[in-house]
C-alpha cells in the first residue's frame, strides 16, 4: 500500500536531521499560519495561485528562488563549518549526512534557486521590454511555474521523509545506480530534476515564442534591449539543452526502477553515456543562467552611467557566439575520462574561445561607464563588483580549459572556487541587481538603498574570503567533497572560508532587512511615474506596478532604447485618442493542480507507491483534457475600464515629480534629453 515508505523514513535517527526536518515543517506551518492570520487565503488562492498574469508568475518564481536561496545557503554554511573543524576529526556531520548536504546544495542552487530566479525576472520584465501584454502562452507559463515548485517541494520534503541523494548535484552513475544507492535519495533528486526540467523546457519555448511573435510594432530584433536579447538566446539554449537532461535522468530512472543497464557497470551499461548527456545539458545550462544576468548588467550599467550602452551590436553578437559555442564544450567536464589528446585539445580550444566574446562584453560594459555619470545605486554596485570579480573566474576557467592543467586541478577545490567565482558574481549578483533594479516596477516602491549597499559589501567581501582560499587549497591538492581530512596545512584556509561564508550570511540577512524596512517605509519610496531610475527601455513606460495589460495602447518603437527615445521626442506619456477592449487570460486553478499532482506523482514514484502515482498521473491527464476543451480562456477588459485605470495613472503622475532621479546628486540633468539627439 505505501510501497517502501515506513515509519523509519522519519528523521529521528539523528538530532541534526531531525532539526532540519523541524525547521522545514515549522517553516511551512508558519506560512500557513501567517496567511490565516492575515485572512489572506482568498487573495493567495484567487489572485496569485490561479493567476496566469506573467508579472505575478514572475514574482512567485522569485519568491520561490529567495526561499530556496536560504535553504541552499544553510547547506553551504554546514559544509564550510564541517570542513573548518574536521581536521583529524569527524566534525559534527557524519559522512552520510555531509554527502546529502553537498548534493542538495548544488541541486537547490542550480535548479531551484538560479532557475526560478531567472524565470521570474524574465517573466516579469521581458514582455514589458518588448512591448507585449503577456507571454505567448500564459497557461503553459503557469504550468512551468508549478512544475518547478513541485520539484522544489520534493527536495524540501526529502528532509522530512526519507533522505536526499548523496550522489552530488550531477548524480554520476554507477554511484547513483540502484546497485550502489538502493535508497530513496537518488530518486528524490531524479524526480525533482525531471519534473522541474520539463517546466524549464516549456519556459524556454514560451519565452522564445513570446520574443519572436509578440513584439510591439517597430520593435525589430535589433532594437530589443540587451536583456531581451539574452533571453532570446537563453530560450534557444533551454529548448535544446533541457531535453538532454530529461533523457539522461529518464534513462537513469529506468535503470533504477526496471533494472535496465543504460549506465550501470554490468551488462554493457556505460556510465560515460550519462556523463556525456548530462554535460550536453550541463554546460549550456551555465550559459542559460548567466546570459540573462549579462542582460541585467547591460541594462543596469547603461541606466546608472546615464549613457547609451557601448557596443550594442558587439554585445548582441557576443551573446549569440556564447550561445552557439556553449554546445561545443561539454567534454571539458571530463578531460580526465581518458579521451585522446586530439579530442581534449579540440574541446579545450573551443572552451578558451568562449573567453573572447565574454571578454568583449566586459570591455563593452566598462566602456559604457567611460565618460558616463555613474550613480552608485545598489544594482550598479553589484555590477561593478561583478566586473572585477568575474574576470578572476574567467581566468581560472581558461586555466581549467587547458587539459594538462585540468588533469592537475579537476575535482579539487580549485574547480569549486572557479565555478562559484563565475556563478556568484556572474549569475547571482546579476539576479540580485535585477531584483533591486526592477523591484519598484513590480511593487510600486523602491527598495532601501542603504541596506542594499550593505548587502552588496557583505556579499563581495564574503565571497572573496570564502572562495579565494579554495583556489589555494586546490593548488595544494585538496579534493572537493571531503568530509574530513588529515593535512594540517588545509585547515587555516578552510577556517577563513568558513568566515567568508558567515559574512555572506550577513549579506543575506541584509537582504531580508532591506525587504522588511522597505515595506515598512514604502509610503516614502513610492514610484509614482513608473520610471524610478530615468530608464531607457520600455518596461519603464508602464506604471509601477503595471496594469494587468501592461500597455493600454501598444507602443510604437522607433529605435534602440525605445522609452528613452520616446521621452526625448516628448511622446512618452501621451493620452491616446481612444482606448480599446483588451483580452486577458482568465484565472484558472488547473496549472496549480497539475503542479500539485506532479509533486504527488514524484513522491509516489520515489517511494514505489504505484497506485498513487497512477492516480496522480491520471489527474494531470484529466486536467489537461479539461483545459483543452475549454473555449472560454480569456476575459475582455472593456475599453471604459482601461480608460479609468489609465486616467487614474495620469492623475497620479501629475502629482508626482517629473523625474524621480532629479534629486540624486549624480543626476546628469534634464539637458541629457536634449543632448541625445
Amino acid at each position: 500500500m505505501l510501497g517502501r515508505l515506513t515509519i523509519d523514513a522519519l528523521p529521528f535517527y539523528s538530532a541534526i536531521a531531525a532539526g532540519g526536518a523541524a525547521v522545514t515543517v515549522l517553516g511551512a506551518l508558519s506560512v500557513v499560519g501567517l496567511i490565516t492570520y492575515f485572512r489572506a487565503w482568498r487573495i493567495v488562492l484567487f489572485d496569485w495561485v490561479s493567476s496566469l498574469d506573467h508579472k505575478k508568475i514572475g514574482i512567485m518564481y522569485v519568491m520561490l528562488a529567495l526561499v530556496m536561496l536560504m535553504r541552499g545557503f544553510i547547506d553551504a554554511a554546514m559544509m564550510r563549518s564541517q570542513q573548518a573543524i574536521a581536521f583529524r576529526s569527524d566534525g559534527y556531520l557524519p559522512a552520510e549526512h555531509f554527502d546529502q548536504i553537498f548534493s542538495s546544495h548544488g541541486t537547490i542552487m542550480i535548479f531551484f534557486m538560479a532557475m526560478p530566479f531567472l524565470s521570474g525576472l524574465i517573466n516579469h520584465i521581458m514582455p514589458q521590454q518588448i512591448g507585449a501584454r503577456d507571454v505567448a502562452f500564459p497557461f503553459m507559463n503557469a504550468v512551468s511555474l508549478w512544475l518547478t515548485a513541485a520539484g522544489a517541494g520534493l527536495v524540501l520534503i526529502s528532509l522530512v521523509i526519507g533522505k536526499f541523494s548523496t550522489a552530488g548535484w550531477t548524480g554520476y552513475p554507477p554511484y547513483s545506480g540502484i546497485e550502489y544507492n538502493p535508497g530513496v535519495g537518488v530518486d528524490y533528486w531524479l524526480w525533482a530534476v525531471l519534473i522541474a526540467g520539463v517546466g524549464s523546457t516549456m519556459s524556454g519555448i514560451n519565452f522564445l515564442v513570446t520574443i519572436l511573435k509578440c513584439r510591439a510594432p517597430g520593435m525589430h530584433l535589433f532594437r530589443m534591449p540587451l536583456f531581451s536579447w539574452t533571453v532570446l538566446v537563453t530560450s534557444v539554449l533551454m529548448i535544446f539543452a533541457f531535453p538532454a537532461l530529461t533523457v539522461a535522468c529518464g534513462l537513469l530512472a529506468v535503470d533504477r526502477i526496471f533494472g535496465t543497464h543504460f549506465f550501470t557497470n554490468a551488462m554493457g551499461g556505460n556510465m560515460m553515456h550519462y556523463i556525456n548527456l548530462f554535460w550536453l545539458w550541463g554546460h549550456p545550462e551555465v550559459y542559460i543562467l548567466i546570459l540573462p544576468a549579462f542582460g541585467v548588467f547591460s541594462e543596469v550599467v547603461a541606466t546608472f552611467s546615464q549613457k547609451r550602452l557601448f557596443g550594442y551590436t558587439s554585445l548582441v553578437l557576443a551573446t549569440m557566439a556564447i550561445g552557439l559555442l556553449s554546445f561545443t564544450v561539454w567534454l571539458h567536464h571530463f578531460f580526465t575520462m581518458g579521451p585522446s589528446a586530439d579530442v581534449n585539445s579540440f574541446f579545450g580550444i573551443m572552451t578558451t574561445i568562449i573567453a573572447v566574446p565574454t571578454g568583449v562584453k566586459v570591455f563593452d560594459w566598462l566602456l559604457t561607464m567611460y565618460r558616463g555619470r555613474i550613480i552608485f545605486k545598489p544594482p550598479m554596485l553589484f555590477t561593478i563588483g561583478f566586473l572585477v570579480t568575474f574576470v578572476i573566474g574567467g581566468l581560472s576557467g581558461v586555466l581549467l580549459a587547458l587539459p594538462p592543467v585540468d588533469y592537475a586541478m579537476h575535482n579539487t577545490t580549485f574547480l569549486v572556487a572557479h565555478f562559484h567565482n563565475t556563478i556568484i558574481p556572474g549569475v547571482l549578483f546579476g539576479y540580485l541587481a535585477g531584483y533591486m533594479f526592477w523591484f519598484p516596477k513590480a511593487f510600486g516602491f523602491k527598495l532601501n538603498e542603504t541596506w542594499g549597499a550593505r548587502s552588496f559589501w557583505c556579499w563581495i567581501i564574503g565571497f572573496y574570503l570564502a572562495f579565494m582560499p579554495l583556489y589555494v587549497l586546490g593548488l595544494m591538492g585538496m579534493p572537493r567533497r571531503m568530509e574530513h581530512y588529515d593535512i594540517a596545512a588545509w585547515q587555516p584556509h578552510l577556517i577563513v572560508a568558513a568566515v567568508g561564508a558567515f559574512i555572506i550570511f550577513l549579506g543575506i540577512v541584509c537582504l531580508a532587512i532591506q525587504l522588511v524596512v522597505s515595506i515598512r517605509d514604502r509610503a516614502n519610496a513610492r514610484d509614482l511615474t513608473g520610471d524610478p531610475w530615468n530608464g531607457r527601455t520600455l518596461e519603464w513606460a508602464t506604471s509601477s506596478p503595471p496594469a494587468l495589460y501592461n500597455f493600454a495602447i501598444l507602443p510604437n518603437v522607433q529605435s534602440v532604447d525605445a522609452f528613452w527615445d520616446m521621452k526625448h521626442r516628448g511622446v512618452a506619456y501621451q493620452r491616446p485618442e481612444r482606448y480599446v477592449d483588451i483580452a486577458l487570460p482568465k484565472n484558472t486553478f488547473i496549472p496549480a493542480t497539475v503542479g500539485g499532482a506532479a509533486f504527488v506523482f514524484g513522491f509516489a514514484v520515489v517511494w514505489y507507491i504505484w497506485w498513487l502515482a497512477a492516480v496522480a498521473f491520471a489527474v494531470i491527464l484529466v486536467a489537461i483534457i479539461i483545459r483543452s476543451s475549454d473555449d472560454e480562456t480569456e476575459v475582455i477588459l472593456p475599453a471604459i475600464e482601461v480608460k479609468a485605470i489609465e486616467e487614474a495613472r495620469f492623475r497620479e503622475m501629475e502629482a508626482a515629480s517629473k523625474n524621480e532621479m532629479a534629486s540624486d546628486p549624480g543626476f546628469a540633468g534634464e539637458s541629457v534629453l536634449e543632448a541625445t539627439s
Binding site: 560515460m272 579545450g348 578558451t352 571578454g359 566598462l366 587547458l402 588533469y407 592537475a408 567533497r481 546628469a668
Partner: protein
C-alpha cells in the same frame, strides 16, 4: 625557486597568512605548486604561462574598473560626459582582437601541451617503465605489480628516475586516480581501463588518492606513494613484499574487494595471473567475450 613561488602565491591568494607558517612545516603542502616530477612540473609551467599571458586582458580590466568608477562618478562634474558615445570602431577591433590574439596563442600552446602531456603517452620510449596495475575499490587502492608478481594495498613504491606505467580500472563506482605531486589525474571506471604515465625526478614520499567522490569512505581513500632512491632499494622493498605469507588469489580478492575504510598497507607475495584483466572482464556479462572486453577496455581511449 619554485618553492619561493609557491609561497608568494600563498601570500597573494590565500588571504590567510597563517597558512604560510603551517605550509612551511609540511613537506607535502603544495603539490601542484611544488612539483616533484616532469609531468607535474610541465602542468604547473603551463598554468603559469597562461596566467601571465592573460594578464594582458585582466590587468586593464582592473585598471579601467577602478579608474572609470572613480573618475566618472556622477558627482564629479569635471569629468567629460558623452551620453551618446556608443560605438567607436577602433575600440571594437581592439576588444575583439586582443582577446582573440591571446586565445590564438593559448590555443597553439594548448594543442602542443595536451599532446606532449597526454597521460597515455610513455614518458621515455627508451627506458622500460615499471608496470603497475591499479584497481580502485571501496575505499582503497590495490596495486598489482605483474612483473614482480606482487600486490599491495594502499602503498605504491617505485624507483625515482624510472617511468611508471599505470593501467587503471575500478571494481566499484567511478574513481579518479591522482598523485598531486607527480601528476594525474585519470578516471578509473569498472569494465574499462585507463592509462597514466608518471615519473618522479627525485626520491621522496608523496600522497595519492581518489579525487572523485565515491561514497561514505571517500575521505579516507588515500595511499602513500614512495619513490625510492635506487633500483636496489626498490628491489629490497619487493623482497619485503615477497616475504609476506598472504597470496592474492580469487578468494582473497573477493574478500578484499568488499567495502572497507582505512585499510592498512597490506602485502601479497603472489597474485593470481591475469587478475587485472579478469576484474575488467567480470563487468562484461558472461566473461567469455574476450573481444568485447578488449574493445571495452579501450573504450575510454
Amino acid at each position: 625557486m619554485k618553492r619561493n613561488l609557491a609561497r608568494r602565491l600563498h601570500v597573494a591568494g590565500a588571504c590567510s597568512p597563517l597558512a604560510i607558517f603551517v605550509s612551511a612545516c609540511n613537506a607535502i603542502a603544495s603539490p601542484v605548486l611544488d612539483p616533484k616530477g616532469p609531468i607535474a612540473a610541465a602542468q604547473t609551467q603551463l598554468l603559469l604561462d597562461a596566467v601571465a599571458i592573460m594578464m594582458i586582458v585582466i590587468v586593464p580590466v582592473f585598471i579601467m574598473a577602478a579608474l572609470f568608477t572613480w573618475r566618472y562618478r556622477g558627482t564629479n562634474r569635471n569629468a567629460r560626459y558623452a551620453p551618446n558615445l556608443a560605438y567607436y570602431w577602433p575600440v571594437e577591433i581592439l576588444i575583439w582582437g586582443v582577446p582573440a590574439g591571446i586565445i590564438f596563442w593559448l590555443g597553439l600552446h594548448l594543442w602542443s601541451a595536451t599532446h606532449r602531456l597526454d597521460p597515455y603517452k610513455p614518458i621515455d620510449p627508451e627506458v622500460p617503465p615499471l608496470r603497475v596495475e591499479a584497481v580502485a575499490q571501496d575505499w582503497k587502492w590495490l596495486f598489482v605489480y605483474p612483473e614482480q608478481d606482487i600486490a599491495v594495498v594502499n602503498e605504491l613504491v617505485f624507483p625515482a628516475g624510472r617511468p611508471l606505467a599505470l593501467r587503471i580500472t575500478s571494481d566499484t563506482v567511478m574513481n579518479s586516480f591522482m598523485i598531486p605531486g607527480l601528476g594525474g589525474q585519470i578516471y578509473a571506471m569498472a569494465g574499462m581501463q585507463t592509462r597514466l604515465h608518471l615519473l618522479a625526478d627525485e626520491p621522496g614520499e608523496f600522497w595519492g588518492r581518489n579525487v572523485q567522490y565515491s561514497g561514505r569512505g571517500f575521505a579516507d581513500q588515500q595511499f602513500r606513494a614512495i619513490a625510492t632512491t635506487t633500483e636496489g632499494e626498490f628491489g629490497a622493498w619487493v623482497e619485503k613484499v615477497k616475504a609476506s605469507t598472504q597470496m592474492l588469489d580469487a578468494t582473497t580478492y573477493e574478500q578484499l574487494a568488499k567495502p572497507s575504510v582505512k585499510v592498512p598497507v597490506t602485502y601479497y607475495s603472489g597474485v593470481q595471473p591475469g587478475l587485472f584483466d579478469s576484474i575488467i572482464a567480470k563487468w562484461h556479462g558472461d566473461g567469455n567475450h574476450l573481444h568485447a572486453q578488449v574493445t571495452g577496455t579501450e573504450q575510454a581511449r
